[in-house]
Symmetry: C2
Subunit: 347 residues, 2 copies
Amino acid sequence: MRATVIHGPQDIRIEEVPDPRIERPTDVVVRVLNACICGSDLWAYRGVSKRQAGQRIGHEFLGFVEEAGAEVRGFAVGDLVVAPFVWSDGVCEYCREGLQTSCPHGGFWGTPGSDGGQGEAVRVPFADGTLVKLPKEAAGDAKLLPGLLALSDVMATGHHAAVSAGVRPGATVAVVGDGAVGLCGVLAAHRLGAGRIIALGRHAGRTAIARSFGATDVVPERGEAAVEAVRELTGGQGAHAVLEAVGTEESMRTALSIARDGGAVGYVGVPHGGSAGVDIGQMFNRNVRLVGGVAPARAYIPELLPDVLSGAIDPGAVFDRTIGLDEVPEGYRAMDERTALKVRIAF
Amino acid sequence: MRATVIHGPQDIRIEEVPDPRIERPTDVVVRVLNACICGSDLWAYRGVSKRQAGQRIGHEFLGFVEEAGAEVRGFAVGDLVVAPFVWSDGVCEYCREGLQTSCPHGGFWGTPGSDGGQGEAVRVPFADGTLVKLPKEAAGDAKLLPGLLALSDVMATGHHAAVSAGVRPGATVAVVGDGAVGLCGVLAAHRLGAGRIIALGRHAGRTAIARSFGATDVVPERGEAAVEAVRELTGGQGAHAVLEAVGTEESMRTALSIARDGGAVGYVGVPHGGSAGVDIGQMFNRNVRLVGGVAPARAYIPELLPDVLSGAIDPGAVFDRTIGLDEVPEGYRAMDERTALKVRIAF
């Protein structure tokens, strides 16, 4: 089959790789129908996150079950499924608690020895613990498919930020980061009943999506000026819940600074700035909580799925370009240069 | 009157200062019956936290109302009261939410222009929002008085650590710090129903108190060895809830490292190590929360008081020395040299 392979910084190739096959009786093989490129893939693309030359990449996909191992109970050939961005055994203590990202048998798509999501097919370990079934008819619904694909990571991750930040009905929420995750954070906060949602961002296309997702205010400033702008909008107090969806030192500093005393920062941006942005003295004096981490998407998909199917939320609006597999290297370039927000790969 | 004054590092003196008087109609004057020296006072004593030469010091006290302003509603002359370690107006948004430490009209005893707790009397601003009434007969109960005094800070702060860390019935809890706050954290975790409480400490007198407060295990190791010891005690997982009651870089690093995935560090140690101990990458990968800060003691005293009065908890056991006002400089020395755990001042 053909799949996306990363050979080094800025070196993304489409190559012939071995066809996936059932290796353990709990595996299935999924024929990928839709995949996408994630903002976090760009850290590898830019060489900030190290990868072995020749490693697969991509961790968001949905498709049809093509083959199922003998011990798979929940899925049959022909089922349409979506995968969260990690696999997990579904039976350990962490999985039962809904923290599948800490499953001792879990793993991340594209790590050496596993298939990446940006390829024609994927061997899925622990299928019963990992996958979530979708209605088959959704496969032909061009309007619905992007939203379902967003459940594999960005929508679940935005929701994790909102839940971690303790978003409640009526709350004032601020979102740092205008990428797909930040925008999904806006949508998640709106879904949870936030009374006011302040989106930090200056890119017109993105702030338009933020507004369509429920943002009531947009703050184009950055750094100290952004902090002042949010404080001004909130009577000097800051936001009850801040969603941090970038992961840099500056974004973390901003996020903590715009949280209201007693409030929380729900952070889901993969940290790339060390801890220098975590102003522990400020957190201490104002009782600001820092909550979040890698989102257990598997725990959230069953809750979010009905709202996507009903049309109550459409996180698929974050995709502004659809390409074929051959165009994936160009897709990375476009996202890296911010000419695309989020790229969908249709097979 | 006579009160404790700090003139510089290691320079604590007892001096004649102006008698406090009612300045605003919401003030009361409290004649101090018991006060104490706090571990956090040692930061000033050591010169790590700056103080103006001649500034008052001490923030924990109980005593009798000697005079009450015209607008004071809840207290009358002769009432026995305990003060939390900050005053607060009791009516603002933050006070009504139970975050009195963020009250815009609040302040910390001993800041310039206010009385410190380690003196014969204290002018208490916003008495109705600040003080909590105690049964008068407690004043003559030598066994009860230390426990009531502990409510002003250390017990409330230990409780804040436990609540912030999300201690639940049956939870495995680890406590970093064997000072009075850490020990009160053990007591608070026990009171909240923790199933197992691991106290990190090596000082025999302190670990004995920890055990009497409910600790089931004691880990004398430090640093990496402590992390390994706690992991071994918890089947490799770490503790659901970790209480951090020191505030240094190393203690924070240890606390985060011994938290179970999906768990929390409730931190109440005044931060003195910057953010270098906050390993954000580890927090992210394992979804470990960092929650806490300066404890809103005023919010917790009404909940904890009945358990002290009934004898269900006796946080007064943290006091291992009682002195008169003249001996306060010696009390600081003893706590600094760790020959005393916590010193009570009886007037």
